[in-house]
């Protein structure tokens, strides 16, 4: 493993973690769209 790889691997892992965290709410939209409305009707409630 050369010097460049040692920098790239952690950056890649960290970058992908952030990317996946960033789209979690969008995944939530997709998952909500395939579930019955009664299950998600409480969203926004107290």
């Amino acid at each position: 493993m050369d010097h460049q790889d040692r920098k790239t691997v952690p950056a890649t892992i960290f970058g992908w973690i952030i990317g996946i965290l960033w789209i979690i709410p969008f995944i939530g939209i997709i998952m909500s769209s395939i579930r019955p409305s009664a299950e998600i009707a409480d969203a926004g409630g107290s």
């Binding site: 890649t12 960033w22 789209i23 939530g28 969203a43 409630g45």
Partner: protein
């Protein structure tokens, strides 16, 4: 000859000029005119403006340093105060990080996705994300055993504005990242080569090469972000509608509510004029910079 040139020029610009006059200049002047009249059509001078600026819904300094509502105008300023630095720091951080990430195009697209989503959808997402029953964020704090934040964020004045600002950052940071990525590609690699030969650390390289060379990109991001924060409407309207207890209200929403819900178009237009003047401040800096690019350097 000169007169003929002017005549033909007018005909050429007329197709573009007419819609601008009809749909932009006329409504602006009309709005300004309405702002000097009350509901019965009586001229009241600056009364709508003084009523707006003394209204607790617009400026409510008594609540500071407590929790919101601080008033719509102060909420806009709070938005700028927190949203702007977070956008710049995260945008620059992501741009620098993703420079050396494998599969960076995919990750950039993931982060930029927020910009593609309509703000109304963003507003609905806030309701889902911060709901106590089904929301990710309260469940996260529950897992961390922080029960004080395991609540329905948008139902409490203490947390609603924070939830909206956080969502706004999440949606908007993709723009800052893309502008910074474009800016980073314009920096000649020879600067970094020289820095490496001179034994410069990564922090020094960032401080003395990257950041100064990204000055123009930062300027664009600051301007666009401030304008976006000041004219913010749909995110708040779709998520909280300005509540609870007016604690997330912003100027654009207050303008809408005053003009169309409280049926006071004069005061609504006064709020619109104040909001326009606020937005013109950063725009004037941008126009000056565009017209005279040497003035900043």
């Amino acid at each position: 000859m000169k007169k003929q040139w002017r005549h033909s020029t007018l005909w050429f610009i007329a197709p573009a000029l007419l819609p601008v006059i009809l749909f932009l200049v006329f409504p602006v002047i009309s709005g300004l005119y309405i702002s000097f009249f009350d509901n019965s059509g009586t001229f009241v001078g600056l009364e709508n403006y003084t009523a707006t600026l003394t209204d607790a819904r617009v400026i409510n300094l008594k609540q500071i340093p407590g929790y919101p509502p601080y008033g719509a105008l102060i909420h806009n300023l709070v938005w700028v105060l927190f949203h702007l630095p977070l956008t710049i720091i995260l945008g620059l951080g992501f741009a620098l990080l993703l420079k050396r990430t494998m599969g960076m195009t995919v990750v950039r697209t993931m982060i930029f996705l927020g910009m593609v989503v309509p703000m109304v959808v963003g507003g609905i997402l806030v309701r889902f994300l911060f709901s106590k029953n089904s929301g990710l964020i309260p469940h996260l704090f529950k897992a961390l055993d922080i029960q004080g934040l395991n609540v329905n964020w948008i139902a409490h004045p203490q947390t609603a504005l924070v939830a909206l600002i956080a969502t706004s950052v999440w949606l908007w940071v993709g723009y800052a990242m893309v502008v910074y990525i474009a800016g980073l590609t314009t920096i000649p690699t020879v600067f970094y080569d020289v820095a490496a030969i001179e034994g410069s650390s990564r922090t020094q390289t960032l401080r003395w090469i990257t950041l100064p060379m990204l000055k123009n990109s930062t300027g664009v991001i600051v301007l666009m972000t401030i304008i976006w924060e000041l004219k913010l409407f749909d995110l708040v309207y779709a998520s909280t509608g300005g509540g609870p207890g007016n604690s997330t209200n912003v100027m654009a929403l207050e303008m809408y509510l005053t003009a169309f819900k409280f049926n006071d178009p004069g005061k609504g237009m006064a709020i619109a004029v104040i909001l326009t003047l606020m937005t013109l401040i950063p725009i004037s800096f941008s126009v000056r910079q565009t017209l005279n690019p040497q003035s900043e350097s």
